[in-house]
Symmetry: C2
Subunit: 341 residues, 2 copies
DNA sequence: TTGTAGGCGTTATCAG
DNA sequence: CTGATAACGCCTACAA
């Protein structure tokens, strides 16, 4: 059974008016007499009239909806970012359509196909771990779809971008480990080609070199599924501990990696921070309740979502082609807890 | 700058055909010659043609989108439920539009207004903590909008419903506390009029009475914002500990309540489980890493989302009015960890 | 096998 | 002040 909403035509018929009069009355046009307006408005209110967005969309050639591609909604960073997006989008009358890649390139393609079939007005993207080339996004962007990258970005497309200061975040937290007396620091990273991986790795390495610290190659391990699979983290830990000289600390570069690493260390009976110290990127809100409470770097996720959405809506609503693009870099925030002491 | 997608008309013009021929070719109609089909399909592929959903929606009088109202996306139970919804909706070609009430009745009203302005085909609802009467939902349901309740339901509307077995979940976990030797058990609940509150409270009380246990009235405290505000939990704890005989255990009835309660107990220097045992409803995935690891009852959130969505799509796509409604009750799952020992 | 026309709901344009 | 008409993109009954 289909839900049949009331239309302008229904109102016109009921009140013995033409559709154009009703339309104008509803938009409070100056041409319509107060009495007619009142009648129409009362009737519309009574029967809960809403303009049909499909009809409007057809007429105005836009859907007032934007698509979002993230890896996992069930990752505090992304769910906060989505909250930020929705707060802006809702205020400006846009709907947000969320899709998840679960770090799979195939899913990213499918989501893009799906979103473009819904003819969204614009797109917010954070790339999946499996995505190292973006012809699919290039194509649709060249066709004119406004696009903004956030978090996991690509330089292949000239458009607005919003990221956290991954370099500094990584630098700070590594320096904190060094200041706490650790020298043999391992780094558990996402896939090597992701922008966030590269930026965080650079911050990590700079902090080490600034303090004259050298580490073996095996101290840097990548996870091709971003930590979504426990085995990949387990393998990385194997590699860390296979070194002749064991690491004293681990810096994990993402929420899933951080949680997964802690869980596997526990499983192996390795005590944090007694046996090994830990710091990581994460936006989870419960880390203060952990055993041990975790030292983390947090990204301003909500704000990133807001800014990305503002940028996108500005692109969408701009009268003329935009050729100047901006890359916003937002500060991260470190919270020191027991795991790194 | 608006993104101008290619239309059937464009294809028709380019190939010197009529729009109806193109339309039929695209739908692979038997009436169209193979050569024409091939030409059309090739052109469509090349220019990435997608049928305009606004036009389709207008024609078919449906949007292929469903609305969702939850309290907080940033609550594992809801984010898992949403994942379940999207898995089904995506497969059946529907878009899910998510809105959050943040436990506010006003936000619930605003979301409903917004969703109905998008003329969704149906609605999935879990009520906000502030919602104890539902004329707004009644009205739109009577106008014919298909509606399915999940989790926090209301008996005022005759429609499909999906819930967890809150009674049994609460019973089990209370019994577990009793079996572990606790008798003075307090209960930290959501607002008193919510369906989940009532069901869980009943399970709690039945377990107590089955074991001949009596507790003072102050051992049951409600949080009118569902634990969203720390102060309300703090006040409840005050009430618990104001009793002449202090409770030995607390059973918390929701994710936010569970986390908030643990955090505040820590802050007060009360040790779990040494000073007081804890069990709670929660779907968070990190509770095994807590200090102490938390004993919890989990709801089958993903499955609830899936089932609710299937029910809703069946309502939407049903040819005739549906008059028989179903209330599905899914089993909960208890995981025993250190906090209750 | 292909083309024409009408309608889904809305608004802008033009005409009274 | 109000009404008729066309157009947005698509589909389909009917016509050729």
């Amino acid at each position: 059974m289909r839900f049949a909403a009331i239309t302008i035509k229904d109102i016109a018929k009921a009140l013995g008016l033409s559709t154009s009069t009703v339309s104008r009355a509803l938009r409070d046009s100056y041409e319509i007499s107060p009495e007619t307006k009142e009648k129409v408005l009362a009737y519309a209110e009574k029967f809960n009239y809403r303009p049909n967005p499909a009809a409007l969309g057809l007429k105005e050639r836009r859907t007032r909806s934007i698509g979002v591609i993230v890896s996992e909604i069930d990752n505090t960073f992304f769910s906060e970012a989505i909250n930020g997006m929705e707060s802006i989008a809702f205020d400006r009358g846009y709907t947000v359509i969320i899709t998840q890649t679960h770090e799979s390139f195939q899913r990213e393609l499918a989501n893009l196909r799906y979103l473009s079939s819904r003819s969204i007005d614009g797109l917010l993207v954070s790339l999946s771990s499996e995505t190292n080339d973006i012809p699919h996004l290039n194509k649709i962007h060249q066709q004119g779809l406004p696009l903004v990258f956030f978090d996991r970005i690509s330089d292949e497309i000239k458009t607005h971008k919003v990221i956290a200061d991954n370099f500094k975040g990584a630098y700070d937290v590594t320096k904190h480990l060094i200041d706490s007396g650790h020298k043999r620091i391992a780094h558990l990273a996402n896939v090597s080609y992701l922008s966030i991986t590269i930026e965080r790795l650079k911050g990590f390495e700079k902090a080490l070199s600034d303090h004259g610290i050298k580490i073996p190659a095996s101290y840097i391990q990548y996870c091709s599924h971003g930590g979504l699979m426990e085995e990949e983290i387990d393998k990385a830990l194997d590699a860390f501990f296979a070194s002749k000289i064991k690491p004293e600390a681990i810096f994990t570069a993402g929420e899933k990696l951080t949680i997964g690493c802690l869980r596997l260390l526990k499983k192996r009976g390795i005590k944090v921070p007694e046996d090994i110290a830990m710091v990581g990127f994460s936006n989870a809100k419960l880390l203060d309740l952990f055993d041990p409470p975790l030292t983390i770097v947090k990204q301003p996720a909500f704000e990133m979502g807001q800014i990305a959405t503002e940028m996108l809506l500005n692109l969408i609503e701009s009268r003329r082609p935009v050729t100047e693009f901006e890359k916003r870099v937002l500060p991260t925030q470190m919270t020191i807890r027991d795991s790194s002491l």
